[in-house]
C-alpha cells in the first residue's frame, strides 16, 4: 500500500486535444497513480482505434469495408452500439452515418473521458474531474465547472456545481469552425445557438451525444431536452440571450448566494 495523496493533476495530449485530470485524495496514492497510467494508455489506444485522421485505424478500415465488426476491438462494437442508441434517441439528429461515411467521433471522446474517469475513481480516488477538450466528467466532488461564454472568449457564462457524478458537455461551432451540421440539410444548424451545455448525472457519454444532437437541432433543442429524463440544458444564442431547461437551476452553483 502506497502513501496517500491529497490531490493529483495531470495533463495529457491525445485525440488532437488535451485532457486535464484533477484527482482528489486517496489513502493509496500508488493505486491511483497506476489507475491514472492505465487511463492515459486507454485514451491513446482509443485514439489509435477511432481516429478518422489515421487511414489505418480500425474505424477507417471498417468504414471502407476492409474489416468486419467481428474483427474489431471490443471497444468498437461498444461505441457503435452506443452511437446507434444515441441516433435512435435523437431521431437521427445525432448520426455516425452522414454522407455515407462511418464517423463515431461525436461520441468517442465523451465516452473515452467517462471511461478514463471511472477507471481512476475505481482505484479509490475521492473525486475525479476529467476535462477532455471542453467536455467534463465529474465523479465524487464537490466540483465546480465554469461554462465558457461562447461570445466572449476567456469569460465564463455561469458555473455548474456538482456534488456527485455529473457529465458536463458543451457543443458549439468552436474554434475549428462548425463541426456539427444538420444531418437533414448538410448545412450549419439553424436556430442560432452559440453554444449549448448539457448536464447528465448518468455521465458524459450521454451528455455529450445529447449536446451534439441539441446543437444540431438549434431552437428545437429546448423541448427535446426538456422531455429527456435526468437531463438539463443551458444555451447561449447567437444574439447573446440565454435559456435553460426547467431543472437546470439545480446544477448552477450559488456563487453569490
Amino acid at each position: 500500500m502506497g502513501a496517500g495523496i491529497e490531490r493529483l493533476r495531470h495533463v495529457e495530449e491525445s485525440m488532437g486535444t488535451v485532457f486535464s485530470f484533477d484527482i482528489r485524495g486517496s489513502r493509496d496514492g500508488a493505486e491511483v497513480r497506476a489507475a491514472l497510467r492505465a487511463a492515459v494508455l486507454a485514451l491513446h489506444r482509443t485514439d489509435e482505434i477511432f481516429s478518422t485522421y489515421r487511414p489505418d485505424s480500425q474505424i477507417m478500415r471498417l468504414g471502407r469495408g476492409e474489416l468486419d465488426r467481428s474483427d474489431c476491438a471490443p471497444e468498437v462494437v461498444e461505441v457503435l452500439e452506443l452511437c446507434a442508441a444515441a441516433e435512435r434517441e435523437s431521431e437521427g439528429w445525432f448520426t455516425t452515418g452522414y454522407a455515407g461515411g462511418l464517423d463515431p467521433t461525436g461520441l468517442v471522446k465523451g465516452w473515452a473521458v467517462e471511461r478514463a474517469a471511472r477507471t481512476i475513481a475505481a482505484s479509490g480516488a475521492g473525486g475525479v474531474c476529467l476535462n477532455g477538450g471542453g467536455d467534463v466528467q465529474l465523479l465524487g466532488g464537490p466540483w465546480r465547472v465554469g461554462i465558457a461564454d461562447p461570445l466572449r472568449p476567456g469569460a465564463l457564462a455561469l458555473v455548474v456545481g456538482a456534488h456527485g457524478d455529473l457529465g458536463v458537455a458543451t457543443s458549439g461551432p468552436a474554434e475549428r469552425g462548425c463541426h456539427v451540421i444538420d444531418p437533414r440539410t448538410g448545412e450549419a444548424p439553424v436556430g442560432g445557438l452559440a453554444s449549448i451545455t448539457v448536464v447528465c448525472p448518468a455521465g458524459l457519454t450521454t451528455a455529450d451525444t445529447r449536446a451534439t444532437a441539441a446543437y444540431a437541432m438549434g431552437d428545437r433543442a429546448r423541448d427535446w431536452l426538456e422531455a429527456l429524463p435526468d437531463t438539463e440544458g443551458f444555451a447561449v444564442t447567437a444574439d447573446g440571450s440565454t435559456w435553460t431547461t426547467s431543472g437546470f437551476h439545480r446544477h448552477t452553483a450559488g456563487v453569490n448566494a
Binding site: 493533476r9 477538450g133 471542453g134 461554462i147 476567456g154 457543443s171 458549439g172 461551432p173 474554434e175 448566494a257
Partner: protein
C-alpha cells in the same frame, strides 16, 4: 502628455487579455504537471503585445474592466461567477500555503514583460509584473490601463473558484490559451 486614442485603449485591452493567458502559460511549474507537446506560444504568435507597468496591482483592487469576464452580467438567473464568496482573503500575507511562481520573460514590441503570480491554496490571489517596459510616458499611461485587464484575465478562473471549464471543443493548439490551461498551470 499626448491624450490616448480611445480605439488604441480598446485594442490594448484586448491584447492584454490574450497576453495574460499567454503569460500564465509561460509559468514555470516546479514539480508541476507535465504538458506533453504543449508549449507556450511566443507572445507575438497570438498578436499579443502589451506593455505592463512595474507596479503590480493586487487582485482585490482590480476594477472591472471593459468586457471583464466574470463581472459582466451573466445570463439567465445565474449569479455572477466572479462573486467573492469563495475568494481567498486578499491580503493574508502570512498564509502558510502561499507561494509565488515566476513566468518566463516575454518579448513584446514595448520590451520584455515578466509576470509573477502569487498562489494561495491553489488559487491565484495576485498577479504582478516583475519586469515591464516603462521607459516613456506613453508606455506608462497605457500600462496603467493594461495591468488591471491582464490581472483580470489571470484570475478569471480562480475568482470563480472553478475546477474545470466546459466549452465547445478545443484543439491541442486552442488549449494553449484556454482558461482550462490556466487552471492546469496554476493548480497545486
Amino acid at each position: 502628455m499626448k491624450r490616448k486614442h480611445p480605439l488604441r485603449r480598446v485594442m490594448l485591452g484586448a491584447a492584454a487579455t490574450t497576453a495574460g493567458i499567454v503569460l500564465l502559460l509561460a509559468l514555470k511549474q516546479p514539480g508541476g504537471s507535465s504538458v506533453a507537446g504543449v508549449a507556450a506560444p511566443p507572445a507575438g504568435g497570438v498578436g499579443a503585445s502589451v506593455p505592463v507597468a512595474g507596479a503590480g496591482a493586487p487582485v482585490d483592487e482590480v476594477p472591472p474592466p471593459d468586457g471583464a469576464p466574470v463581472d459582466a452580467a451573466p445570463p439567465g438567473e445565474a449569479p455572477p461567477a466572479g462573486a467573492p464568496a469563495d475568494e481567498p482573503p486578499p491580503a493574508a500575507d502570512a498564509a502558510p500555503d502561499r507561494r509565488t511562481v515566476l513566468g518566463d520573460a516575454v518579448d513584446t514590441q514595448y520590451g520584455p514583460v515578466q509576470v509573477q503570480l502569487t498562489l494561495s491554496g491553489g488559487r491565484i490571489v495576485k498577479a504582478e509584473a516583475r519586469q515591464a517596459p516603462d521607459s516613456d510616458a506613453q508606455s506608462k499611461s497605457v500600462s496603467a490601463n493594461a495591468v488591471p485587464k491582464l490581472n483580470q484575465a489571470a484570475i478569471t478562473a480562480q475568482s470563480a473558484g472553478i475546477d474545470a471549464v466546459s466549452g465547445a471543443s478545443y484543439t491541442s493548439k486552442g488549449y494553449q490559451d484556454s482558461l482550462q490551461s490556466a487552471l492546469d498551470k496554476a493548480g497545486v
